[in-house]
Symmetry: C2
Subunit: 329 residues, 2 copies
């Protein structure tokens, strides 16, 4: 068979069980000829699912991992005590095998971050961060770092995040000098909490990055910057408040459509749901590793597996991650 | 004439000049029989505007204040050096005159907060905070504290904010035991940054307030809590990200309406703009004083003056602040 890109699918740790993730992999294998998987988890269960889904077994390798890391696991302890868990086995495989190009997992974020530092840290020994690519009002994407991997950050960490985000946006989108914005409560350089003020001074002194200054919450996703830097607490807020607000407006529009019997409203709702369903965009991407690692949501479904697999394929081929046409309304 | 409620209008410090604020006052005087104003600013200019607007001069008193506090003023310095500014004169008048029931100003937030502490602090000597009343998805309102008055907060400050917010929601809406939520990156009590974790423990130990635990960004405005507590940095983010997202969806809907020629879409847009224009809701309210002080936006217009005047009237009469019907879609 032709040369394929093999990526790891950690089948455990998700809210909906391994079956739905394996089903997603089956759909992705049909869609992408160049794709193959190393599935990590219960060998018997995976084999059974693969057979029942008539999957091409020459493009599926299975690595048995009897143990599972759950959301109740303490990261530090789990890393040492759960060596036979699907997540740790996945990380070790990614680190040691050259034929494996990336990893998809829905499991515990804390353990994954710790495992990334332990097994996959790049030569520069930077602190990994969890990035999200968010669609802007002008059709571009902004890389938000950090989205919740490190809740309490130092100014130095935020500088690392800015550099990792810049490298990623340059590689992925070919942006020569990606613009870095610092999330703050005012555009002026004097605005911000203690962390933001200290980070502002450090970013302004960095010659490696193109720092454009502070960016406020209302313009954060306007397209004003390619990378938006903040601590994991603020990043989580930006993501969740945006998501909550978009869902709420869409719910209001549906109610209005029903009340007025205006059927064309439902077409509008369909458009909006595609653009503003930030959750479907492929999950968080860990930056600071040499190979792509994607932390998909705990409640990932078949579609998530397909879209994050495509994301890794695109990253490997250095193409744009998302199809921009989807965000046109 | 009948007994009226007299409130102070600081005519200086806004982005659009005193004229537009005075015009708003003229509209409010027509709308509310029980209202009268003490207007603070340039006597000549105010008199001229009042005459040209044919205002009822038995319901307008003027206090001359030649100086203005701008957004470039340093709060600590301005409080001592600009005694003849309209803001300081307004604060002193509110403190010393029993017939004055509240204050509306569009000026410098930092100076206003400092001035509130200096001239108006309540007997308990708590730290004042800037609250916003935000419409929830279920038709209720949540009092968000702090929205940007204090950017770096201590856990003790957040406890003060929770208490002030509780008292306000009880007085204004007659809620017997207002629910206090703590804004965090996860609902579990172990989630949060250092500030949130420490505050969680303090709030849980407070018998005076009804603490319901952590609240995430996506459910913050669902109606899950009556008071949402956070530091000014996070509060500013919640406000601005919500506002930015709502504006963006509405812009998308307008584009869609134009493209499809669906005229009924514009009716929907009208509804949404009323519900989601958080800026028009009356501005920030300073809690921690004995009399209502409203910090209206710098770019306030006639409508803002009318709605915040109504807000103070309602507060004085202990009625609900907003007409709930406006948020039905």
């Amino acid at each position: 068979m032709a040369n394929t890109y093999k990526i790891i699918l950690d089948t455990k740790g998700g809210d909906n069980g391994p079956e739905v993730l394996i089903k997603g992999a089956a759909i992705a294998l049909k869609k992408f000829d160049s794709l193959s998987y190393l599935m990590v988890g219960d060998r018997d269960l995976i084999e059974k699912e693969c057979v029942s889904l008539s999957m091409p077994m020459d493009r599926v390798e299975i690595l048995d991992a009897p143990n599972e890391i759950t959301n109740y696991d303490n990261p530090a302890a789990a890393l040492f005590e759960k060596q036979d868990s699907s997540m740790i086995k996945s990380l070790v495989a990614l680190d040691t095998r050259e034929d494996l190009l990336g990893l998809i997992t829905t499991g515990n974020t804390g353990v994954l971050l710790g495992g990334t530092v332990r097994f996959l840290n790049s030569k520069e020994r930077v602190r990994p961060c969890l990035a999200a690519l968010l669609p802007n009002a002008d059709g571009s994407f902004t890389c938000l770092v950090d989205t919740g991997a490190t809740i309490d950050c130092s100014p130095q960490m935020l500088v690392h995040f800015a550099k990792q985000g810049s490298r990623f946006m340059k590689q992925m989108y070919g942006i020569e000098s990606p613009r870095v914005g610092l999330l703050s409560n005012g555009a002026e350089s004097t605005k911000g909490n203690k962390l933001v003020k200290e980070t502002h001074a450090l970013l302004a002194a960095e010659s490696e990055i193109n720092f454009i200054g502070n960016v406020e919450g209302n313009t954060a996703l306007s397209g004003i910057c390619d990378i938006l830097v903040c601590d994991g607490f603020a990043g989580n807020l930006v993501l969740k408040v945006s998501e909550g607000m978009a869902k709420r407006l869409i719910t209001d529009i549906v109610k209005y459509g029903k009340r007025t019997g205006n059927e064309s409203i439902m077409e509008l709702v369909g458009h909006l749901m595609k653009v503003y369903d930030f959750g479907s965009l492929g999950g968080g991407l860990i930056l600071g590793t040499d190979k792509p690692v994607i932390k998909a949501r705990g409640n990932s479904n078949e579609t998530t597996v397909v879209s994050v697999s495509e994301m890794i394929l695109n990253m490997v081929e250095h193409k744009a991650i998302f199809d921009k046409s989807r965000i046109e309304i």
